[in-house]
Every structure is written in C-alpha cells, then in structure tokens.
Symmetry: C2
Subunit: 387 residues, 2 copies
C-alpha cells in the first residue's frame, strides 16, 4: 500500500463559509468542557426565503464533509450527495436553502483535533475533548441561530447523519418540521462498536500516530488510517455487491501470482480506498468521530424508552433503510419506527430493496429517490412552500 507519509491537509481556506461561534455564550459539551470562540466551516446552496422557512440541514456521515453538492476541493470528485442535492434535484437548491456544516471533531475546517488549541498554540491532538452526536447538533443549532433560522424545513442525513437527525428531534423538536433519518440507528450496536474499535486500534498501532501528536512531529499515521478505512469500507458494502462488483476476478493478470500483491480486484480496490482516504482525512478526527458514534444511545438517555425521545414532537418523519445494509440493518430503523408509533408520531417508513449495502444511500437508487422526492414534496406542501 503506497500512501503519502507527510501530506498535510490544509483546510484553512476552503471554498466554503466560516463562522466563529461561542464567543459570548460558549458551547458546553457533554463531557463537561466548554468551548468558546470556535470555528465552524459550512457550505450552503440556494437562497433562504423571506420567511426563512425553506432551510434544509444536511448532516454528513463519519467521513463526509460540507461539500455535499459541489466538487470536493481536495479530491476534485463530485460532492458526496450531488446525486440528491442541486438545482432541480430531489433536494432542489432552486427551492430550498441547503446548509451542510462540517461536524465538530471533523477535519474540514470546523474545530477538531487537528486545529490549534489556543491555550497551547499547538494542535489539539488528544487534548481535544471527546465529543458526542448531541454536541454536533448543539453546534449546528448555534449555527442556525447565527443564520437567524428558527426552524428547519427538514433535517436529513444517512448513517451518522441520520443519528444527528434523530438527535435534532430529541433536543430541538420545535425546530424541525420534517426529519429524514436514513440507514441509521438510535444506538450503536456491539458489532458497530467492534468495527470502530478495530479502526482505532489500527490507527493507534501506527508508530507515526505518536499518541495523537503526529502533527508536531511532521508525520501522519497514514498506514494505520488506511487499514481502518479498509476495514470500515467492507461494512459499507453488502456481500452481494462485493460479489457482483469484484467476485474472485483477478487484477490485470491471468493467474494468481503466488505472492502477496493485490492478485484480486477486490484487494486492489480496498487498497485504493485506503490510499485515497488518507489524502483527505485526519486520523485523530477518525478516532473522535467514531467515538461519538459509539457513544450514541438515544434510548439509554431516555431510561430505556426510546419513544420518550420523540414524545410531543410534531415533526413529520421519513425513516428509510435498505434491505442489504448489514451495518445499520432494517431492524434498527424498525426500532425507531416502533418508538415513533408508540407516541403517535407522523411517520413514513420504507425499506428500500437494494443489494448495495449501507452505501446505497449515497448511490443512484431509483426507488430510494422516488420515496425521498415524494416525502419532501408532500412535506413542502404541508409547510406551505411554493412549488
């Protein structure tokens, strides 16, 4: 595996918005730490209407960022949800004002372990406080305050984005008209924690990690981070998708080589995934964000009664899952739906047939897109947004 050992991600001047929050009223994190004067990087698309009623918050997943609908400034690839977000698309930026902030703990401009700790003048590293999904949502609420938006038309996200959507309704029910948690769960399972722990141990096993202070030493734990990405990436695909895309096909060769090169296409693919990932992501951010996901357990916060998280909410829900998603299986969505039903919430639920696994929410899945479009159009009518 060839990875750049010394590449540094410069996120100080990305083509997006930056705002400093918490100057007057600091952010109080779940761990007890307070943060004042911190930066949030976010991207917006479309125009906020005069009533400020057409805002859509898109929450990104573990390795996502704010570039949901335009070219990624580092990889030069399309935005991670450009298939959904844009002019005339399902989340129509001619109609909605789309906001996508980089989460706290991230590495694309929002405060996180790779930014400078003002107390020391050095990168935070492991001195950065451990954050939670609720902390991510608190920061987003502060951003909305800054933008003067009382109430979102919709909060939408897949995977960890879906966790933030659930947290939004639990923490600020009056601020979310429609909530679309996709391919997600109300608590991280033992298997999910396990895969994250493998990734973290791979990073921490890399001597270049230097107990989190790699930036001080001018190195990066690229090999560990690449292994973490490879392990996680398998969980994002279904076995059927891996078989269909790669099967046992060989990579540019007629026969196996009796060695440890990437004989199989799937090996080559995974190595490439690892190599590309380290060019755009920070290893400590990977630790912090996976930890936030592991800690997410909405049910436990409500003494084991998930329904209580949603009691009284007037939000309209659209819960979606995919048949072949074994990372966040449909059963997790059903738990959410059962809790919503238990408090007579307004909920649509669909399990989309797809063999693409967890990643299906990022792909061109016609049935998924039909359901999304239908729900959003209906909700927009209820909100009184002009067509």
């Amino acid at each position: 595996m060839t990875v750049p050992e010394t590449l540094s991600i410069d996120t100080s001047a990305l083509p997006c918005h930056y705002v400093t929050l918490g100057a007057e009223d600091p952010l109080r994190l779940d761990c007890g730490t307070e943060l004042g004067d911190f930066t949030v990087a976010y991207q917006t698309y479309g125009e906020l209407n005069d009533e400020k009623s057409n805002a859509v918050l898109v929450c990104h997943a573990l390795t996502g960022d704010q570039f949901v609908g335009d070219t990624h400034p580092i990889t030069k690839k399309p935005g991670w949800w450009e298939v959904i977000v844009g002019p005339g698309k399902i989340i129509d930026t001619d109609r909605y004002y789309v906001i996508c902030p980089n989460v706290i703990g991230g590495c694309m401009g929002t405060i996180g372990p790779k930014e400078i700790n003002p107390a020391t003048g050095q990168p935070w590293g492991l001195d950065f406080p451990v954050i939670t999904i609720a902390d991510m949502v608190r920061v987003q609420a502060m951003l909305l305050d800054h933008l003067g938006i009382d109430s979102l038309f919709a909060a939408i996200g897949g995977s960890m984005g879906g966790m933030q959507v659930l947290e939004w309704v639990a923490s600020y029910p009056e601020r979310v008209f429609a909530a679309l948690p996709i391919a997600t769960a109300a608590r991280h399972s033992a298997q999910n924690i396990s895969f994250h722990e493998v990734g973290r141990q791979a990073i921490m096993a890399d001597p270049d990690w230097r107990n989190g202070d790699y930036r001080l030493h001018g190195v990066r734990p690229c090999r560990g981070l690449a292994v973490a990405r490879m392990a996680a990436h398998i969980t994002y695909l279904s076995e059927a998708a891996l078989t269909r895309k790669f099967g046992r096909r060989l990579q540019d060769r007629e026969a196996v080589t009796f060695g440890f090169d990437a004989d199989f296409q799937v090996e080559s693919y995974l190595r490439r995934q690892g190599g590309v990932f380290v060019e755009r992501f920070d290893a400590n951010s990977y630790l912090y964000i996976t930890r936030a996901m592991d800690y997410f357990d909405l049910e436990a916060r409500y003494d084991g009664v998930l329904a209580d998280a949603f009691r009284g909410a007037r939000t309209r829900f659209c819960v979606l899952s995919f048949t072949s998603d074994w990372c966040y299986p449909t059963e997790e969505s059903r738990r959410i739906v059962r809790a919503l039903n238990a408090v007579a919430a307004n909920v649509s639920f669909a399990e989309i047939v797809s063999d693409c696994g967890h990643d299906a929410f990022l792909l061109d899945e016609p049935e998924f897109h039909r359901v999304l479009a239908g729900f959003l159009d209906g909700a927009a009518d209820h909100r009184g947004l002009p067509r």
Copy 2:
C-alpha cells in the same frame, strides 16, 4: 493494547509427534517449488486398529493447530475441539485413531515461514513459497503414507478445515470413506478475501514486520497481528452473539469516560483477543494461511463445474452449516450439496440453528453434536467398525 514485543514462539519441542517427509520424493507445491526434507508436527489420540480402518483426520482452521484434544502447550487452555474429540466423546478416541497435523505454512512445528530455510540458515520469511489448501492436503497424504494408512475412515474440519476436507475428496477420493466439511465453502468469497486483505495490510503496516524478516531483527509485528486478529474475530461471531454477550455494556465503569480506553466490554474483549493471539501465532504464518484460503476455488479448478470435483467419489458426506454464520453462510454449503447431488453422491446436509455465528462449530451446540454423532456412528457401521 499491551502486547509482548519480543516474545518468540519456541515450537522446536512441543509435546507432539514430529516427522521428516519428502526426503526421497519431494513435495511439489502448486506454485512449482519443490520441498524435500521438511518437518511436519502432528498430534494423535487413540490407537490405530489392525485393519488400519479407524483413522480420523481432523483438519484445523486458520489459527488452529494440532492440539485438538489436549491442553495447548503455550496457552494452557483446553484443545480447540476438546468438546468433540476425546475418550467417549463424539470423535471417540477409544474407538478412532485421531490424527491432527499442523498445516504447512503454520507455526506450530510444521514447516512454515518462521522455520529455518536450509539454503540460507535463516528463517524463511517471505522466501517461503506461497502454499495452497491442496498443498496442505498433499502434505497430509504424505503423512498418511508414512503412517501406513491407505484410507481414512473420516476427514473432518470446520472453516479452513472444511476446505481441506473438500480438497481431500477432490484429490484422493479413494482415501476418504466419510467426509465432514463444516461451516465452510468451496471457494473464498470477495468479502472473505476482503477481510483477509485487511488483516494482511495491518500486519504489513507494522514497521516491526520488516518485510517479513522480523525474526532476523529480534522483533515481532505484534500490533499489526493483533489488529488483524481483532478484525477477523468480529467475522467469527454473529451480531446477535455480540449483542447477547456484550451489547453496549460498559467495562468496570458506571459511565463512559469520554476517552479512548475500552469503555465498552466488547472493546475490552477484542483487545484481549488480539493480545492473547500474538502470544501463540506467527504473523507471517497468518499471511500465508490467509492467502491459501483466498486462493481456494475448487469450482474454478474444475472449469466452473463444482460437481466434477466429486464425480465418481464413493465418499459419504455430511455437510453442516450454521444459521447465523455470515463468514461462511449456509448458501456456501448449499452450493457444495447441490454439486454433490448433481453427481448422485451420498450426502447428508443439515443447517444447524444457532445464534453463535461461525464460531458455533467450536462451541457446545447440542443439535450440532447430535447430528455429528449420528452421522459418524452410521458411517462407522457402514465401515464395519466395531462399536
């Protein structure tokens, strides 16, 4: 994760048998290399009868070894299949002569990458030839020749052990009276290759791996090997088993610590699995044996017609799978059974209901044990073995 960095596995004097094979007629490996004068370590239990008709070959899995039925000399734990193999047990050592050899490429006394290359006087390291499942079986056939055993009463094994069982019937059909491939597949899937590749990359990413020459430098890639083991271990358990055994329970604490310690029991468990594993296993052996499994594709060897691998075999088959095994799902066993049916082979098939995942074949599963015992007793009657 705390792992011994310099621990060395001394397997030169284990409490088992050693034999030198290939002195006159060298072993010709699939890769083309020939090996003469090589050592095989194996364990036996019970007595070979006068007709030499009661031999049971137990084939071990990726990280198994010859200590199937007695205390492991390094870990001091019970043999890996002591629940099945022993006096009065299902594979009754009062009745059968049980042979369990350490596979070629292994690290418990049989020739493998950690042994000395006679051409250089140094450990083989990556100069050791890449081996296949068929090579493992060739060595076992040479061992049987040495023991004067023409025909096995039974060949049995789970996971990679089951691959060897299938290979036995394909390569030496006349030498296997009964074959019991358990929780296995006739070819390694893209997902299985993927998980193995993650493990290999974790080992190779460890700077102490030294391109396979770690023994020359007095170090061992323990951190990489532990990460490989952790990733693999998740695939051996079902999500249900992980949830039942650990769920989101915390490890000796009342609340999460907002840090990267093992807050969750499942994290602590996985770290322990990694730490214990490196005390008894060799990193290069892990590379070689996973590679052999990845290369296994019996169907491809018979031009895409798996049935041809078994055509004409008079062996009695017992194919077993477990409902919650997602590493080698029941569908893989069904493929084997369909191929056997297509040539009118004598085959019993059972899918055992268990929530324990792939590891079920190692555990105390009453239904599994009932089926095994019933098949073996019936086959022994057909073989004419006295009760």
